[in-house]
Symmetry: C2
Subunit: 159 residues, 2 copies
DNA sequence: GCCGGTATACTCGGATATATTATGTCCGAGTATATGTGG
DNA sequence: CCACATATACTCGGACATAATATATCCGAGTATACCGGC
């Protein structure tokens, strides 16, 4: 099991967009250059975040992406769901009902599979933790001066 | 992100082996037939569990697999690690250090990436939940009579 | 009848193909800007 | 000098290849059993 790298990309992009502010939207190509990521592929991630209402895309010249909501209103969980999809990593295939001599309509199968239940609980704990942290939290926990450095670097990049 | 199906297989196999007891080891082919799973592939899962010390393989005729420990001493987490590997689903690639004009030796990078920290916390919560349930718990939470039905079905299968 | 040797059938175990998913790339549709022209 | 129409350059957006991983399979090595012959 391995999480898509796009989750990391999406979170870093959101943080960078938060730091440079809403004044100018930032093109995907510039974000890709910023992190040395494949530009064409990063757009896919940014589009997913846009569809989820986390980013806002601005078309045309001087266009790009900006945050659609305030950092405090975007959880890490939101980003993950937007990029990686809403599905539970564990998917119960009900193999307990298979095999010869098993009646799928037996009363014992009315209650959910115990394994599935445990997995679901663990998934819930995971999601709860991710939902308890917002982009604002991440911005605050950054080293002192990170915002300033980011803005300066961005200004230098724009020339 | 999708968890390997082998995790589900491994857990169900462990529960079945617990129910039928240690008297006779159960061959992989019979377990595969039991759940209607691909026999040759299931062995890979069982081998992984054996390497982890959860199952015990008995070679030769009348051989097969049996539980190596008591059900109370095997957590769901143990099975997952054995089958799916110990790696954290999220893998920080330190993209914050990339890009032109960034000094990887800067003091701000001495502290771990905040994103990585949050992900690690969530992963920990997930693992903690999985580690808090043992095979014995799963056996107990099964519907009444499950053990009896399983043993009877197995006896009938052996002929 | 008992013991030993041998052949056998059955088991696991790791090396080898295929399917699916994630990664990476390309080109077209659309829009704000800049420019040039007429009033 | 100002307003408007037009052309342009830049942006996003979804459709198309490639690489990595999970799934599925096969055949060989090893072992306990069962059988057979000899004592």
């Amino acid at each position: 099991m391995r999480m898509s790298e796009q989750v990391e990309w999406g979170l870093h992009c959101c943080l960078t967009l938060a730091w440079i502010g809403d004044e100018h939207p930032m093109p995907a190509a510039r974000l890709a250059d910023w992190f040395e990521l494949p530009p064409a592929y990063l757009t896919k991630c940014l589009q997913a975040l846009t569809r989820a209402g986390i980013l806002q895309s601005v078309p045309g010249a001087r266009g790009g992406f900006r945050l659609a909501r305030r950092p405090a209103d975007v959880t890490v969980m939101d980003v993950l769901v937007a990029v990686d999809g809403p599905d539970n990593p564990f998917r119960c295939t009900e193999i307990r009902q298979r095999g010869a001599g098993v009646d799928p309509s037996a009363p014992e199968f009315r209650t959910p599979c115990a394994i599935s239940t445990v997995m679901h609980r663990a998934d819930l704990a995971w999601r709860r933790e991710l939902a308890s942290h917002t982009l604002a939290d991440l911005l605050e926990s950054a080293p002192a001066g990170a915002a300033e450095r980011t803005r300066r670097r961005y200004a230098q990049l724009r020339g």
